[in-house]
Amino acid sequence: MGFLTKPAVTQIITQNGECKILLSIELNLNINNDNITITQNTDIKPVDSLKNENEDVGFVIPDFSSQEKLKFGKEV
């Protein structure tokens, strides 16, 4: 008789337009018994879907406050 020793963990990863599903199931199988029965823990963990990092690229703008002053510009 087999027992699910840990709740199944499912991860769905979406990246670059592809979807990858990782399914991890841990079973305990009793091989002494001709009738193999697999049971599963009814507590199923919620699916973790990994969100991509924010792909928005912000503008990198330096700080232009400065102590140095320039006398610049000629009247035309």
Partner: protein
């Protein structure tokens, strides 16, 4: 009060009103070079003749700016560096943004707190990859970081305006701000077609003054600096016996042809939105348009191109170098009105 500011590849131009409502314009060359502080002779000589300088002892260098710096760099055989290239920030110049910031802040001296400022920006080019949005964001940050003589932030109300549109504001007020504005700068040609001051379409081409210098130099074996000087002597309506002048004229014709093709494509894209009942005026300005015979050459090419647009006349402002800044000022003044 308001300020108009043309942030050009070669020239920085600011424009304000005088007390008697005339235009007060200031200009400088958008250029700098680096001087090592290990050479105090050069540094002190420049300081004694009032070359605009910023000393950075922490870096062991000083920076010299503007037209005076250009003249000294030429005699000292130093390379001038330019914060902008092709109409936008120069990605190959690592100090570009900071140097441009020093120069713009220097020309904002005397600005009032919360003053309205309109500065020129290009469109994205249709013949090369440019990032006009990033360029605009950097300029906005520069203007908003401006301080008074006590180091207090002026909180300037800084806004962008398309360079071609600025020309329409400057020169077509009596035409209900309807027409085309074409700025032939050093780095870019900027085109805007507007109806009642609202842009219908705009675009840019990275084929302007610097490109003419480079291509003519390549064809004739001369340097771009030499070509740049010769451009002031060439007459675009004459068939010169000089190879250099003929080459320069040919490059001008190519630039005008590309510009007119761009306008044709723009009009096709906007369809009925670009239709006007009355013939329109076309304003042409910018340093590259200052060559002798340019407006006649342009008008001739335009009329022969069969563009679906009726042209009333081609307008060249009395001071084509300063017209964009003037248009920026007028736009800023409109924005100030309640």
């Amino acid at each position: 009060m308001a300020i108009g500011f043309d942030v050009g590849t070669y020239n920085l131009v600011s424009c304000r009103r005088t007390a008697d409502n005339n235009f007060k314009t200031e200009r400088e060359v958008n250029s700098f070079f680096e001087v090592s502080l290990e050479d105090p002779l050069a540094f002190n000589a420049m300081r004694s003749v009032n070359v605009p300088l910023i000393e950075r002892k922490d870096l062991g260098v000083a920076y010299a700016f503007g037209e005076a710096a250009v003249r000294i760099a030429y005699t000292m055989n130093k390379d001038m560096k330019r914060p902008m290239e092709g109409g936008c920030l120069n990605p190959r110049e690592r100090n570009a943004q900071q140097m441009l910031s020093y120069m713009i802040h220097g020309m904002l001296e005397g600005a009032n707190p919360q003053e309205m400022v309109y500065y020129s920006v290009p469109s994205n080019a249709i013949n090369e990859e440019t990032d006009a949005d990033y360029h605009d964001k950097v300029l906005q940050a520069i203007f908003r970081a401006a301080t008074d003589e006590n180091g207090q932030n002026l909180q300037l109300r800084a806004n962008p305006i398309n360079e071609g549109l600025a020309l329409i504001y400057a020169e077509l007020h009596d035409k209900a701000l309807t027409g085309a504005g074409i700025s032939f700068g050093a780095g870019m040609v900027n085109v805007c077609f507007a109806i009642f001051g609202v842009p219908v379409f705009s675009f840019a081409l990275v084929n302007s003054g610097d490109w003419i210098d480079k291509m003519s130099a390549k064809a004739t074996g001369e340097t771009p600096t030499f070509i740049n000087k010769e451009k002031t002597k060439v007459n675009l309506l004459e068939n010169s016996s000089s190879l250099v002048h003929r080459t320069i004229k040919a490059q001008y014709e190519i630039m005008i042809s590309k510009t007119i093709n761009g306008i044709k494509q723009g009009l096709e894209k906007v369809g009925n939105k670009g239709r006007t009942e009355e013939p329109i005026d076309v304003v042409i300005a910018g340093g590259t348009a200052s060559a002798m015979g340019f407006d006649e050459l342009f008008a001739k090419a335009f009329n022969e191109s069969k563009i679906p647009l009726n042209i009333n006349r081609v307008v060249r402002p009395g001071e084509p170098l300063y017209s964009v800044a003037k248009g920026c000022l007028i736009a800023a003044e409109f924005a100030c009105r309640q």
